[in-house]
């Protein structure tokens, strides 16, 4: 698999896919998309990068251990159920804030943070499995 063409393309392809995965994640609230599918796209980006440039390069690129990323996502997902405690509503009730930034109204909400949590869990877990399998192949 490690042809010159693939090795040259893989970093750009991976970067593009990660960017696209974030786009899919963010449009997920009202249209098809969301954290799960976005996470899968990002995880496959890392898998492609791993095939092209080696597992060590991927581990360097994502800085944290994949399982730590998944754990951070789990934590974020859990925490995003909490704000409704302060408004007298049950667990996981969505809260919305409309923030004006640079003249644009940006709706922020707890489902968004939950979705980001899901995204991180999926990225972490799938990347962890994929890198584990790729490492096994190479040795």
């Amino acid at each position: 698999m490690r042809t010159v063409i693939f090795r040259t393309i893989a970093p750009y392809l991976a970067a593009l896919m990660v960017l696209f995965s974030i786009f899919v994640l963010l449009r997920g609230h009202n249209e098809p998309g969301g954290g799960f599918i976005g996470g899968l796209i990002a995880a496959s980006a890392f898998a492609i990068y791993g095939i092209g440039c080696g597992v060590a390069a991927v581990r360097r690129a994502i800085t944290f251990h994949p399982m730590s990323i998944a754990a951070a996502g789990l934590f974020l997902g859990g925490v995003s159920g909490l704000p409704s405690l302060f408004t007298g509503q049950p667990f996981m009730t969505s809260q919305w804030w409309y923030v004006h930034m640079l003249g644009v109204e940006v709706p922020l909400s707890t489902p968004l943070f939950f979705d980001i949590g899901v995204y991180l869990v999926v990225v972490g877990a799938i990347t962890s499995i994929a890198l584990g399998l790729e490492e096994r192949e190479s040795d």
């Binding site: 251990h65 399982m67 730590s68 998944a70 754990a71 951070a72 789990l74 934590f75 997902g77 859990g78 925490v79 159920g81 909490l82 409704s84 405690l85 007298g88 509503q89 049950p90 667990f91 996981m92 009730t93 969505s94 919305w96 409309y98 109204e105 709706p107």
Partner: protein, 527 residues
């Protein structure tokens, strides 16, 4: 896009009255274990900090569960629907006395296991993730006890199952892989059967909320299809609970992992299956329970007797204890088979007792192994001289597991035998008493061989050949504190059973007369 763009009347989809902050105790166990598990997973490399983080979060869990039980006893059944949707559309968490009690006892056992694990789980085991798995296992266990939605119950079952897989293969020994293959395959088949039944139930009644299912099933009209669903549930959860004749995965796997993992599994996992059976046949499908009661009785008696006879035939201490776990499941199923309020109370009480005593017995077995160098009854001996305390502890636990007074095993057996005789099930009562006798023989023999005689098999009478050195790994509070905690509870419940008795009866009442359960979900208008 601002919210005002949608002229939506939220009162048609959501509850508008505010929720008292105290109701957050319902989801607190889940939040604590998920956040604690995530933190532990993030600090996986820091093997010294892991036990501390886990113990802090598990202490919080115990406190939260205790608070939840107090609130349930005070206010009756509690419900919180995630996302504030009106039931039955949101995922509901509905807690009654049974669920809260079992969650509390499970969290105490998990705390004990976390402390015991400081010595038992080495650095590589910690780096592999023992403590995150422990916390996530507790997420699954507590979630299963607290949820009020049948599909959500399936999800919690899977959460605890996948964490248990991780714990089971911790260490990667050959026997562990062998045991894990059987454990994993049979448990996956069981959860798949559970999912099949849930799919069919959804097809029949069009709802997944437990209270809504109870209401719609009681309205009648679907007896035949619901019976199929009930039988599927019975098979699925009997597999989970290791009831005869689908119990063979348990003695094949429970003796393979680290002893603290085995202790935790023996205490918790099968009881979640029993809990699901009690919930489904008590609240959801009571008519099916009536029709199946003879079958359940036969399964219960067979489970009790095959369990204890299996225990009598074992040389390996851990496998013997595994068979005793199965035998205890039979007693709980007997309560379900009789089905009256006292019998259900007996089953709940027995579950509490079994969680505490089986975990403590496995931990004691771990200490015996450290002292005597083996789990085999042929090679153990003379431990009385090495550790008189352990001899006393094991004897007390042996009495408790056999159902002798004044320990926690006595009272649930009294309840069960009494309920069986009152309802005209003399043979169930007889089987429970016979099981008690055989259990006494099985564990009494362990005590005689391992503690009383002078040394391993072949030692002459009056001789002492066992080594009397107490190794460092079983010194100190990390080993004795958890065993002491569990034993203390076993003795306390045995001497002062009133509180547990009252709680179990409250739980049983919800099972037999689920009106309070329904009203908690749908409001006071439900008839």
């Amino acid at each position: 896009m601002a919210a005002s763009d949608y002229p939506v009347d939220l009162s048609q989809a959501m509850r508008m009255d505010p929720v008292p902050p105290g109701d957050w105790l319902i989801v607190a166990p889940l939040l604590i274990t998920i956040l604690g598990g995530a933190l532990c997973l993030m600090t996986r490399k820091n093997t010294d900090a892991q036990p501390k983080v886990a113990i802090i979060f598990l202490t919080l869990l115990v406190l939260a569960c205790a608070g939840l039980l107090a609130r349930v006893l005070d206010k009756g059944v509690l419900t919180m629907v995630a996302g504030n949707w009106l039931p039955p559309f949101g995922i509901a968490f509905t807690v009654d006395a049974m669920g809260a009690t079992l969650a509390l006892v499970s969290s105490i056992v998990a705390l004990a296991a976390a402390v015991f694990g400081i010595n038992d789980i080495d650095k590589s085991g910690r780096r592999y993730g023992f403590y995150p798995f422990l916390l996530l296992l507790m997420t699954g266990v507590c979630g299963a006890f607290l949820t009020g939605d049948i599909f959500n119950l399936y999800v919690w079952f899977e959460v605890l199952l996948i964490s248990s897989f991780g714990m089971l293969v911790l260490g990667n020994e050959r026997a562990q892989l062998d045991g894990a293959v059987k454990y994993a395959l049979l448990n996956i088949v069981a959860t798949t059967l559970f999912l099949i039944a849930t799919g069919l139930l959804y097809g029949i009644l069009g709802t997944l909320n437990m209270a809504d299912i109870a209401r719609k099933a009681a309205a009648g009209g679907f007896e035949g299809p619901l019976m199929t669903v009930a039988v599927l549930y019975f098979l699925a959860f009997a597999m989970k609970a290791a009831a005869f004749p689908v119990n063979f995965w348990l003695p094949a796997s429970y003796h393979t992992p680290r002893i603290v993992v085995a202790a935790l599994f023996a205490g918790l996992l099968t009881k979640v299956g029993v809990y699901a059976l009690l919930r489904i046949f008590g609240v959801l499908l009571p008519d099916a329970r009536l029709m199946l009661s003879d079958l359940i009785a036969v399964v219960a008696i067979a489970t009790m007797l095959t369990g204890v006879i299996g225990a009598l035939a074992q040389t390996d201490l851990r496998r013997l204890l595994g068979f005793l776990v199965i035998s205890g499941i039979g007693s709980m199923l007997a309560g379900l088979a009789i089905g009256t309020a006292p019998a259900m109370a007996g089953a709940i009480f027995y579950a509490v007792h079994s969680i505490l005593v089986m975990t403590a017995l496995y931990m004691a077995a771990g200490v015996m192994r450290a002292l005597g160098g083996s789990y085999s009854m042929r090679e153990l001996g003379g431990l009385y001289r090495a550790s008189p305390v352990l001899a006393a502890v094991f004897l007390m636990l042996a009495f408790a597991v056999s159902g002798l007074p004044p320990f926690s095993g006595f009272w649930p057996k009294v309840l069960l035998v009494d309920a069986a005789l009152q309802d005209g099930h003399g043979w169930i009562a007889g089987a429970i008493l016979l099981t008690g006798l055989l259990t006494t023989i099985a564990v009494g023999r362990v005590w005689i061989y391992a503690f009383w005689r002078g040394g391993a098999e072949g030692t002459a009478d009056g001789q002492l050949t066992a080594t009397l050195v107490v190794p460092d790994e079983v010194r100190g509070p990390g080993v004795w504190l958890p065993i002491g905690l569990l034993l203390g509870l076993v003795v306390l419940i045995g001497l002062q059973p009133e509180f547990m008795m009252q709680v179990a009866q409250r739980g049983a009442l919800t099972l037999v007369e689920p009106l309070g359960y329904l009203r908690s979900v749908f409001g006071d208008t439900v008839q």
